[in-house]
Amino acid sequence: MADAFIENYASEANIVINIGAQSESQTKDTVLVDIAAAADVYYFADDQTRELVAAGALQPVQNADAVAAANAQGAVDAATVDGTLYAYPAMGGNGYFLYYNSNIISAEQAATWDGILKACNAAGVKATMEMTNAWYSYGFFAGAGYACALSDDGKTTTCDWNAEGGVNVLQAMLDIAANSAYINLTDGEFVSGAKEGTIAAGINGSWNAASIAEAFGDGYATAKLPTFTLNGEQVQMGSFDGYKFVGVNAMSENVGWAMRLAEWLTNEDNQVYLYEATNGAAVPANTNAAASEAVQANPVVAALAAQSQYATAQSLSVGGNYWTPANALGTIVVNGNPDGLELQAILDECVAGITALVE
């Protein structure tokens, strides 16, 4: 893509592009240490948008209307801070959904947690969801109607998990965690387990699709997230939706050209190109590209689409202090509340940590 860009604009300027490898989820660490020395154009995951904007590392998009029109609304919203568009949507589908092995779990069973756990128990295998990762555990509370939202300053989170009835959600989580068919694994461990046949279902994102498809073989199937039992009723799990953006370094020397490059990298053709090159892991955010047949047929995309009605964008819901307390909540759940703390007290403290002022 870079070479094509250079060719395209060869008549106007002499351009040299150096490419470096950076995991999108950690771009902010590399950029924020020394913004001036960071790359001119970089990919990043949407949860870092606000921090990058606050640090002045992102150059506002100049032709925001054109970019907004071409890409999915959700992506555009996530890239907008205080009314200004700060990044070019490159990929969508950075959310999560359910993978399962249809040889062990039927589609019907895959619709509920109870069904999944029962099927796994019967087959002597396990299902996993990384509850200790606040990214995933958000789904339980969100589905039950509790919400986190960004407060006005754009950094602090408001959260009502400890409101009336929140303890029931926590109890539901504890129940699932206590089930012998449930296991808490990281992404990497999920893939290992799938390959070795000890894991039959897992909630995960799109980046592992290829490995899991290989592991489950002909049993490979995806679906939206299951429902869980809350006070005797089935409640659909919510989730986070995520995007990846291309940002332009506001301190770049050649900021105009950098913007052109960013736009180029995220135009419709290149989003399709990236999608094909990564075997479907890079789901396009561009509305036209995403609507193409090839993309629609991808089971990952289908599952994400099915889940998207219950999903909220991460960058609009939670601020910087959400993660560690919510992770800790997950740890308590997974370890089965080892200290025997009162559920309401746990939630109160968790919310206190989440809503703490970002200083």
């Binding site: 002045g56 461990e189 020397e253 050649n254 560690t324 370890n335 200083e359």
Partner: protein, 481 residues
């Protein structure tokens, strides 16, 4: 020292300067203004030229670098960053903004440089005075060549120490002073240069830490006090166990191997060395995967029924043994893994020491009728303790700052289970220094990180002084001369 006409008493640097300045003749006094003057008057032309050049460089440095920054150090900058995009030039036009970070850094550098220059200047005055005296007494005045020769002889220490000391000043002292200063500012994620300014807040950071040790969880900083106490406690406990388990383990192992009736000593030693020769970060990352939730060790444990047993006893609530994800298990595991890494190393040191026990002590003991056990406890052990005592102290302090073991084993894998600590971004197995690293790297909370760094330093000083007092009077340097 070459003869000094004011007598042989060893006077301090400042008093020598005072004497030189006040007792010196007009040339010496004027040398403060024109640095080369004293040398010129006494015939040391080359040095005079050098001194004058040095002065010119100093003036330039002062005007171009030091003054602009020092003048702003009180407020750390007033103009914030603002930029406007100009589509015609395709570039951002930026205002003339102040960068708090650079102001502070350059100020620290300037102050250090100015102090160094002041020292050099005082030395020049002292030397000019000495030249005046020597000339008056008719003593020989060194030519430049002779001065240079002195640098390799009586003043060789200066030549030897110059470069290393420069390195230390640039890479340790200046950054340290800078970071200590940061502890008194509000440099964190909301105040990040170059786009934002930060400013002095005095002792506010420290106060907020201590004021809220009780912890009411209502704001982020109150969780800091709560976490600080706990992290400090674990740091000390860890350092204690890590140091002493390794120490005794190494000694015992070394005794076992060095026992005269043990065969194949070299083989045993080599085997243990192989375990530590693989670089620490490889083995630690390996161990993290070795003991993970879905890992070899867990598989083996469940296969042999250990997991089931522990579940029945109620020791674990999950289907795997949470070696690295549950604080109660992880803490002992860390100490154990550190034991695994450290004991062979201690074994080598202990071997070296044991080989040096003076044999004649044993002989005389045997003649006096002592049996083996008595020899061991009354001769071997005290000797070993004596020689390795200092090592124990340095090891304890090093373990307080043992970043690698904790970070590599638990980062990104172990999540805190304590909500208040999580609010302060600490985990139950963090050392002060891993907490500091996380605050710096992941959350850009440089000010609290500096505060913690300073507190770590105070803790270390405390233990060092304790150790110094204990070993006072033992083992002076000159013993072996």
């Amino acid at each position: 020292m070459q003869g000094h006409s004011t007598g042989k008493r060893r006077s301090g640097f400042l008093s020598r300067f005072g004497t030189a300045f006040f007792d010196g003749d007009i040339w010496v006094k004027l040398s403060v203004l024109f640095w080369g003057l004293g040398y010129f008057r006494r015939g040391q032309w080359v040095k005079g030229v050098l001194a004058t050049l040095f002065q010119l460089v100093f003036i330039y440095f002062l005007l171009a670098f030091a003054l602009p920054n020092l003048s702003m150090v009180g407020t750390l900058g007033k103009t914030e960053y603002a930029s406007v995009y100009n589509p015609d030039t395709m570039k951002n036009e930026v205002n003339d903004y102040d960068d708090s970070f650079l102001i502070l850094l350059f100020s620290v550098i300037s102050v250090t440089a100015l102090i160094a220059i002041a020292v050099v200047l005082m030395n020049i005055i002292i030397e000019s005075y000495k030249l005046e005296i020597d000339m008056a007494q008719g003593k020989h005045i060194n030519s430049f060549r002779e001065d240079v020769k002195e640098l390799f002889d009586s003043k060789f220490r200066l030549t030897l120490m110059f470069l290393p000391t420069l390195g230390i000043i640039i890479f340790t002292i200046i950054p340290l002073i800078f970071m200590i200063a940061i502890a008194f500012t509000n440099y964190d994620q909301s105040h990040m240069p170059p786009t934002k300014l930060f400013t002095w807040v005095g002792f506010e950071n420290f106060l907020s830490l201590f004021r809220t040790i009780a912890g009411d969880g209502s704001s982020q900083s109150s969780a800091f006090g709560y976490s600080f106490v706990r992290v400090l406690a674990w740091t000390l406990i860890w350092a204690f166990f890590a140091t002493f388990t390794n120490y005794f383990g190494g000694i015992i192992l070394s005794l076992a191997i060095n026992n005269p009736r043990t065969r194949l000593k070299k083989l045993w030693r080599t085997l243990f060395i192989i375990a530590i020769a693989v670089p620490q970060f490889v083995t630690l990352l390996l161990m993290r995967n070795f003991f993970g939730n879905l890992s070899i060790v867990n598989t083996i444990c469940s296969n042999i029924g250990l997991t089931g047993l522990l579940q029945r006893w109620g020791w674990i609530t999950t289907d795997y043994i949470p070696f690295m994800t549950n604080a109660a298990w992880t803490r002992p595991m860390i100490i154990l893994i550190n034991f695994w890494i450290g004991v062979p190393y201690l074994m080598l040191i202990a071997t070296g020491v044991l080989m040096n026990v003076p044999q004649d002590l044993y002989e005389s003991a045997r003649i006096d009728g002592a049996n083996k056990a008595q020899s061991f406890f009354k001769i071997t052990m005290p000797f070993v303790f004596n020689v390795t005592g200092p090592y124990l102290v340095t090891s304890f302090i090093a373990n307080i700052n043992n970043f690698n073991v904790i970070y590599l084993l638990t980062n990104d894998y172990f999540e805190a289970g304590n909500l208040t600590m999580a609010a302060a971004k600490a985990t139950e197995v963090d050392l002060l220094i891993t907490w500091l690293y996380r605050l710096t790297n992941d959350y850009y909370n440089y000010r609290m990180a500096s505060v913690i760094g300073i507190l770590v330093f105070i803790v270390c000083i405390f233990f060092t002084l304790l150790a110094f007092n204990y070993t006072l009077g033992k083992g002076k340097e000159e013993t072996f001369r």
